[in-house]
Amino acid sequence: MMLARTADSLYWIARYMERAENLARTLRVTDRLSLMPSIADADGSEWHSTVVVSGSESGFYEKHEEATPENVISYLAFDPENPSSIRSCIETARRNARAVRTALTTEQWECLNSAWLELPGWNEARVRGSGLHRFLDWVKDCSLLFTGGTVATMLRRDSYYFTRLGTFIERNDNTARILDVKYHVLLPEHAEVGGGIDYYQWASILRAVSGYRSYNAVYREGLKPWLIAEFLIMREEMPRSLISCSAEIKECLDKLGEEYGQRHECHRIAGQLYSRLRFGKVEDVFRQGLHEFLCDHIEQNDRLGMEISRSYLLG
């Protein structure tokens, strides 16, 4: 048993840190893609697509006319008015952490506090050129330290499961969005599907989820779009895949159900979400359309998040 507000804060700290990490990962892919001259010539659509998949299209275009690399980095990484910018994520996570310090381990708190203390040292000027990668690596490190600190130091009881739920609900959403980048980045007109550029784009997506080498370890037959999709959607050994996230969510909810001796609507939705992936086939995903499948998954995951809030958190 714990304060609903505390559980809510833990859940959102984890979500915001995971969001910051995935934003960093997405920006990294985008930056890589834009290094391909033939794609960069195609009016920088990869920067626009990053804005779209991060779910901040309307906010972005209210402030900026064009999705130039500078504008996108400024909005997604540093803009305090964008509640999901990397800066806002870290600040919100740390503000929440301060409010629930007693529920965090020292390691978790120190990681969030250090991130917040170091944050003002990063700005648009410092991330020009090669600085961008250093910044994105730093963000990723902060998040990994937090997630690692959580797993390594937190007592296995409700507070832990609420924190982990935050991580996996967010990651479930974000992996789907990263995979969806491919849908939004259009191949240049004359490029051939499965050709050099296409290949390069798929490889970047794998890299974004730290899956490039793992993919090769699992498949050993070169990059194939349907295998990559299968890998990121249905392979449980891939820790950022949709099925892994869904399995973790289900597991956390099961533990909470056990601890509290009560199950809710969120348990049913989590079970459904997981089974669909566990017993589905990748052919069906492609038949439905990858983009449509991902949109539906994101929507179901949202609903699950809302049900978790309703049952345990602040509604």
Binding site: M1, L3, R5, R101, D158, F162
Partner: protein
């Protein structure tokens, strides 16, 4: 009163006092670069842990660190015994006084404390009249501010009976000193302070309300992360293993207080509240308060929840009431006060006001209801303009002021930019009252970091020191 400044280590060039001999030797063998390094380490430690406090209305860094002086202050066992006995006696009298004020009012009837000073006081809460509280304890956690002017001379400067803060610094300062200077620490036999939070928890559970259904559920109520002492609130909740709640986490139904949890409502029995009286319950006090809980007072009066410290405890730490504390000791306990009060002029009395106005440049004048070093004049440090302006304020509302002689506060060796130099200090020990009464050997030593300054308040740039009480 001694006018020469008493240095607790011993006057420069003079005899080093017994307790400080080892420290003195250690300072001699430790190069200043090491001290500087250690001070930086301490600052990093405080930042990383997030031991910060907020300073209102000055802009700049909203989360500031209170400067920590790395050189400990040392008190002998015998010195401490006298202080500790005096503190226990004083707090027993203060609790008896508050219980009396909200009960039979014997001391008012006896004409020892003027009735108007109590009933018309801003800190008096008529809502508490006739309310009985467990063990008749009203100030469960008291912080008594003391100063020293000579080897044997300690004075109580101020009682804090409401929500005294600073105990987390006492504990964290010890933590950091042991970490930075294990060699020095091990050369002394220092009485531990780290059981404070266990004692606090025991105190809080010992004052469970009369209708408590079983093992009491204790919580710490904080105004939230923007409060200047928020770190301390979370620290104490954490150390006691209880929930740190904010007003909106609690609600009252049928005179019972509940907190909102992940498993629905859970009954709360004892609230260690760090929210001021006026904000506790919008139905009884300020209706615009968002920090409190509607209906809390009603649950409190019904004996379904206990609040620590009790509502209305502030009546005992009002600066005008302060002057009567030695009388309280005699009246309630029939004992001679062990701790002395600083002689105080009450400007509410005509002759006193006259005296004070004539001697402003040599006195410390305080607003009766002020705290934190705001609204006070330190005569010898003030400019002519400041004195004139303050004098006008005293003339306009004399009843709002008291005055005291400028005490020659003792000094302790302090590591400042110029090296190790004497700086003025005070001491705030913490006294816990529940079924029993306890004092952890130590307290918060505050130090004025600027040369010659007598203002030790953290809101005015004061720092803190670890305070060692030696065992026999």
């Amino acid at each position: 009163m001694a006018q020469a400044i008493f240095d607790e280590m011993g006057a420069p060039g003079g005899e080093i006092r017994q307790a400080y001999k080892t420290l003195q030797a250690w300072l001699g063998e430790t190069p200043p670069e090491i001290l500087t390094l250690r001070r930086e380490e301490a600052e990093t430690f405080f930042r990383r842990i997030g031991i910060t406090f907020a300073v209102y209305g000055e802009g700049g860094d909203p989360e500031r660190i209170i400067p920590f002086d790395i050189i400990p202050r040392i008190l002998e066992a015998a010195e401490w015994r006298q202080i500790s006995d005096g503190l226990i006696q004083r707090v027993r009298a203060l609790n008896a006084f508050i219980a009396d004020v909200y009960g039979a009012q014997e001391i008012l009837k006896a004409g020892i404390v003027p009735r108007d000073q109590v009933i018309l006081n801003d800190t008096y809460r008529y809502q508490m009249q006739g309310v009985s509280v467990p063990h008749n304890v009203f100030t469960h956690i008291a912080g008594i501010d003391m100063v020293r002017v000579g080897p044997e001379e300690f004075y109580v400067l101020e009682d804090n009976c409401r929500t005294p803060s600073g105990v987390s610094y006492m504990l964290e300062n010890r933590e950091i000193t042991m970490r930075l200077f294990p060699d020095l620490f091990s050369r002394y036999n220092v009485a531990p302070v780290d059981h404070y939070c266990d004692e606090l928890m025991r105190t809080l559970t010992s004052v469970a309300p009369r209708n408590c259904p079983g093992e009491p559920t204790v919580v710490v109520l904080t105004p939230g992360i923007y409060n200047s002492a928020y770190y301390e609130h979370s620290f104490l909740a954490d150390q006691m293993g209880v929930e740190l709640v904010e007003g909106p986490d609690l609600y009252v139904m049928d005179d019972i207080v509940y907190m909102r949890t992940t498993q629905g409502p859970k009954r709360v029995d004892v609230i260690y509240r760090r929210v001021d009286d006026e904000f506790l319950d919008p139905l009884s006090f300020r209706p615009d308060s968002a920090l409190g809980v509607a209906g809390l007072m009603s649950a409190y009066r019904a004996g379904n929840v206990n609040l620590t410290n009790a509502v209305g405890a502030g009546i005992a730490d009002d600066k005008a009431i302060y002057t009567y504390v030695p009388d309280m000791v005699k009246f309630y306990l029939g004992e001679t006060p062990i701790l002395k009060n600083v002689p105080t002029w009450r400007c509410s009395e005509k002759a006193d006001a006259q005296y004070v106005l004539e001697r402003l440049p040599e006195l410390v004048v305080k607003e009766v209801h002020g705290s934190g070093g705001y609204g006070m004049l330190v005569g010898p440090m003030a400019t002519k303009e400041e004195i004139e302006a303050f004098g006008a304020r005293v003339k306009a509302a004399p009843e709002k002021y008291i005055a005291q002689p400028t005490l020659a506060l003792s000094t302790c060796p302090t590591f400042v930019n110029e090296g190790v130099a004497p700086r003025h200090v005070d001491l705030r020990p913490f006294i816990l009252s529940g079924k029993d009464i306890k004092v952890v050997p130590g307290g918060l030593t505050r130090v004025a970091m600027r040369e010659g300054s007598l203002v030790v308040n953290s809101s005015q740039g004061g720092g803190t020191k670890d305070t060692w009480v030696l065992k026999d």
